[in-house]
């Protein structure tokens, strides 16, 4: 026991520096990462499990890094299981939510705690008990209650790794629908009677022994033999090695992070190419943008192949898909108009959207099983994809709207550019309106198919309608000549606030209705500041415009021009 405590901690120390041995995180660990584990209703590679748990335990880190005290997630998992005494005293659990800390009466001044400390904490215990009472009385939970439950679940999940009860890596030999055996089950006295588990037990012990001895190649060899044995044990249930490899590849590649870096580079290069009039910069910008688009597409394809369903089943996926759709529309528009405005806009928006999806902790990128109503439905797929393409076009329109308002500050006299941008804005709004109108009605088709009525004024469908009505009002106002170019730019931004309400607000602010499978909490601060920022932008542009209109000269014509 002494030995098992000592060696992994030394081992962890040796890896905790910034220059942790790259070979350790390299391909040698593949067999360990590709071990299958049953968790959260699906079978996934240990790598995915480890990364998800790392995120839950220590919170999301900037740029999506998941190392725990310098250890690669899968190794951290193995280390924790190999030396539970040491790891339950390690202050790795990060609790930042102010309301949660207050509700659980956690000590002020630090936000990292050990498992042991939290599990024995009186305040947290009574907070959990209070929420349980609420649940029993069927009362509504507030966001802090949900945080309390989430923290409790995280503690249980990590505890499960330490004891092995949460490591359900051994498939049931006969029953494909049964729960898998955990490492703790395999070592339980009852399992001693099941002959098939003997070798499984020996191989899992070998893996741990090799790890405790600091013998990484030994771990790899044992892991490979272990997974081979498990596949033999339940050939009908154990997932295909190719599938597991693909998911580990996806985890390691982080295609959406690579895509936003690429989009951002493309945006900056295109932005610089305007004043510098550099053809090379422009080409480089397009290169980066297209590379980002390909990475974005590749990531989406991988997700579809891993999860076996269209990539629009939670908030995270929709944001990633909207980024993709926005860049796609921009590239199509570029092919028609050969301006570089769309490309630059799409680069900025694509980067922004993916940074939000990857960086804001409330958007969970984990692949989880679907609730029954979302499964196996063509209309669902068609309707959500269509609406998301509408959102994508409106996102692009919103970006161009900002450029348009920006002209009042940076190029106030450039009527030609202003008119041209207004035309682009109109084109993007048209695409968005087409997709949102059709998508909303298709939503009705899905609803009449799955819920038995075409339209029931559910908040989600109501807000989609409100956004659509907003944009239709803008387009009809333009047709009547009441709304000119300035009004269109403002409309594209105000309309986008409605889209945000339909997209994010219904799930995270209203939190009621039939679309409850997507609900969550948090992020109000971000969205609130976005709304405030937009209000400022519009107000500033309106003031600026008034002062130009009052002044004689070419600038006044910017806004006085009739609509197209």
């Amino acid at each position: 026991m002494k030995r098992s405590l000592l060696i992994p901690s030394l081992f962890a120390l040796s890896l905790s520096g910034p220059l942790a041995n790259p070979a350790v995180a390299g391909p040698e660990l593949a067999p360990l990462r590709q071990l299958a584990i049953q968790d959260g209703g699906r079978v996934k590679p240990l790598d995915t499990f480890a990364r998800e748990l790392a995120k839950r335990v220590q919170g999301a880190k900037p740029f999506g890094f998941e190392r725990v005290v310098g250890l690669e997630p899968t190794l951290w998992l193995l280390a924790s299981h190999a030396a539970p005494e040491r790891w339950q005293a390690e202050p790795i659990l990060k609790v930042t939510h102010a309301g949660l800390r207050q509700a659980a009466a956690l000590p002020a001044g630090r936000d990292r705690f050990s498992l042991q400390e939290l599990a024995e904490h009186e305040g947290l215990r009574s907070a959990v008990a209070a929420v349980r009472t609420k649940l029993e009385h069927d009362e509504d939970l507030d966001p802090i209650d949900r945080e309390v439950l989430e923290l409790e679940a995280t503690l249980a999940a990590y505890q499960g790794v330490l004891t092995g009860e949460g490591l359900r890596v051994v498939p049931h030999p006969d029953d494909p629908k049964a729960a898998w055996f955990s490492l703790a089950d395999v070592h339980s006295p009852e399992a001693a009677d099941i002959p098939q588990l003997g070798r499984v037990r020996a191989l899992s012990d070998a893996m741990l022994l090799a790890y405790r001895a600091g013998d990484l190649p030994g771990v790899t060899t044992a892991a490979r033999a272990f997974s081979g044995r498990l596949a033999e044990l339940a050939p009908a249930v154990y997932p295909d090695a190719k599938q597991l490899r693909m998911e580990v590849h996806y985890n390691g590649l982080k295609p959406f992070r690579a895509a936003w870096v690429s989009y951002l580079a493309g945006f900056l290069a295109l932005l610089a190419s305007f004043p510098l009039a550099s053809r090379w910069l422009k080409l480089a910008g397009y290169g980066a943008l297209v590379a980002g688009f390909l990475l974005n597409s590749y990531g989406l394809v991988l997700r579809v192949l891993i999860s076996g369903r269209p990539p629009v089943t939670n908030m995270y996926e929709t944001i990633v898909f909207v980024a993709w759709g926005g860049v796609l529309f921009a590239l199509v528009f570029e092919a028609v108009y050969k301006t570089h405005v769309f490309a630059a806009c799409a680069g900025a928006l694509g980067a922004l959207a993916l940074i939000i999806a990857e960086g804001v902790p409330i958007f969970d990128g984990a692949i989880a099983p679907l609730v029954p109503v979302l499964r196996d439905n063509m209309w669902l797929t068609v309707h959500v994809l269509t609406i998301m393409l509408g959102y994508a076009a409106f996102t692009l329109a919103m970006g161009i709207g900002h450029l348009n308002l920006g002209l009042y500050f940076f190029r106030p006299g450039d009527v030609v550019l202003f008119k041209r941008l207004s035309l682009f804005l109109y084109r993007a709004l048209q695409v968005g309106t087409l997709f949102l109108a059709v998508g909303t009605l298709l939503g009705g088709v899905w609803a009449s198919y799955s819920w038995g009525r075409f339209w029931g004024w559910d908040p989600k469908e109501t807000w989609a309608l409100i956004a659509l009505l907003g944009y239709l009002a803008v387009l009809h106002g333009r047709f009547a000549g009441w709304i000119k170019d300035f009004g269109m730019a403002v409309g594209s931004i105000l309309g986008y606030l409605l889209v945000l309400m339909a997209w994010y607000g219904v799930n995270y602010i209203l939190g009621t209705g039939l679309h409850s499978y997507g609900f969550g909490s948090g992020g109000y601060w971000y969205v609130g500041s976005f709304v405030a920022f937009e209000a400022l932008v519009i107000a500033a542009a309106a003031l600026r415009r008034r002062s130009f209109m009052a002044r004689p000269g070419p600038a006044a014509t910017v806004a006085a021009q009739p609509a197209h």
């Binding site: 049953q38 699906r42 494909p176 908040p459 309608l465 409100i466």
Partner: protein
């Protein structure tokens, strides 16, 4: 509508032009949007039944939707005589009308109901969604069902509501109403006894448990007043007869019988997350024979215009499966409307400009051909004939 009215300078013409105006469209769209937006917040506070009753199913909201429909219709009439420029506009706006009309048809000619069956149970009755009071006196052959809306017009002591059963002298009297009661049960010497105590109602209507104080009156006899909980039926002594009163949704008869053979809910392996729930049912239809089929989430059963959806279930032995049973005769109109809206927008935004450009190009080409021909003719009249 004739062009005469459109050009009419009088009141009729002026109101028609207002009805057909873009100004009205924008005002109505913005108004509906604003009302819906506040309605969703109202729903967050008070729950879905409240917002349905107080906003979406009110006559003023129907009026607004009707106004939108009239506006769309008038805008189309106003463009008469139509030309091929109007194809997209007409398709999109006819589509909107069809969606509205189809919804109205489904509302008035359709059915929205529930059916709950335990495994092995057979039924040909569905319960509708709106509340009603019911009275049955089997000995006298008296039976009556009355739709009620107690949230708006509750009976009170001193202002009771009386419902006379047609063709008899029996009257069902609602004496009092409590929007929310607490139910306590105690075992006494006379058997289990239930007490209903009125309480302040919780904000969410789904949590409320309403009760009504009912009494059956006749020419010669009257029953004791009795509190009836929402969804329940209670027996009362009425003169020498055994009567029953109920406060629950009325039922409707289906032209066939449904038997729940098996109910199956499955979780994702190794978790408690529901993966699917499905019911195996048998339909016995006197006209179309019997068959067995599966009803699952996203796999509804269509039979003679009725659609059965797996909506939920109650865990237990035997399991109870709950279906939504709907009939939406307006649905084909709505689907057609959806298609037309999509096609119309597509036409307006993309096909029409493309046609215009092509026409422009053709006109330009024709013009230049004419010019050339003109020059050629003046130079060499023979070449044209060749």
């Amino acid at each position: 509508m004739s062009p005469m009215l459109m050009n009419d300078k009088g009141f009729g013409g002026r109101s028609f032009r207002l009805l057909a105006s873009l100004r009205l469209s924008v005002v109505v769209m913005v108004t509906i949007g604003a009302i819906c937006a506040s309605a969703t917040f109202y729903e967050m506070r008070h729950g879905t039944p409240a917002v349905q009753r107080d906003v979406y199913q009110t006559s003023w909201f129907a009026f607004l939707l009707g106004l939108l429909g009239l506006n769309v219709l008038a805008a189309m009439v106003n463009r008469w005589p139509w030309s091929k420029h109007h194809v997209g506009f007409l398709a999109a706006h006819v589509g909107i009308l069809l969606v509205l009309v189809g919804s109205v048809v489904s509302l008035y000619r359709g059915l929205d109901s529930n059916m709950a069956l335990y495994e092995g149970e057979t039924s040909d009755r569905v319960s509708l969604l709106e509340p009603s009071l019911q009275v049955h006196v089997p000995g006298l052959g008296v039976s009556g069902t009355f739709a009620v809306r107690f949230e708006k017009q509750p009976p009170r002591a001193g202002r009771e509501l009386r419902f006379a059963v047609p063709g008899s002298d029996v009257v069902l009297v609602a004496r009092d109403y409590a929007p929310h009661v607490e139910v306590t049960e105690a075992v006494t010497a006379a058997g289990p006894r239930r007490t209903l105590t009125p309480r302040p109602p919780p904000a969410k209507e789904a949590r409320r448990q309403a009760a009504v104080l009912l009494q059956v009156e006749g020419a010669a006899a009257r029953s004791e007043p009795v509190w009836v909980l929402w969804g329940e039926r209670t027996g009362v002594a009425f003169g020498g007869e055994q009567a029953s009163v109920a406060f629950r949704p009325p039922e409707a008869q289906l032209p066939f019988r449904v038997t729940l053979l098996r109910f199956n809910n499955e979780a994702y392996p190794g978790s408690r997350m529901a993966a699917t729930y499905e019911s195996t049912v048998r339909i016995d239809d006197p006209e179309r024979g019997s068959f067995e089929t599966l009803v699952a989430m996203n796999h509804p059963l269509h039979h003679r215009g009725y659609i059965f959806f797996q909506s939920s279930f109650v865990e237990g032995r035997p399991m109870i499966s709950i279906f939504s049973v709907a009939r939406a005769p307006g649905l084909p109109l709505v689907y057609l409307g959806t298609t037309l809206v999509g096609a119309g927008i597509l036409w307006m935004f993309y096909v029409k400009p493309w046609l215009a450009r092509r026409q422009g190009a053709l006109a330009l080409a024709a013009h230049s051909t004419r010019e050339n021909r003109h020059e050629a003719q003046s130079a060499d009249p023979q070449s044209l004939r060749a």
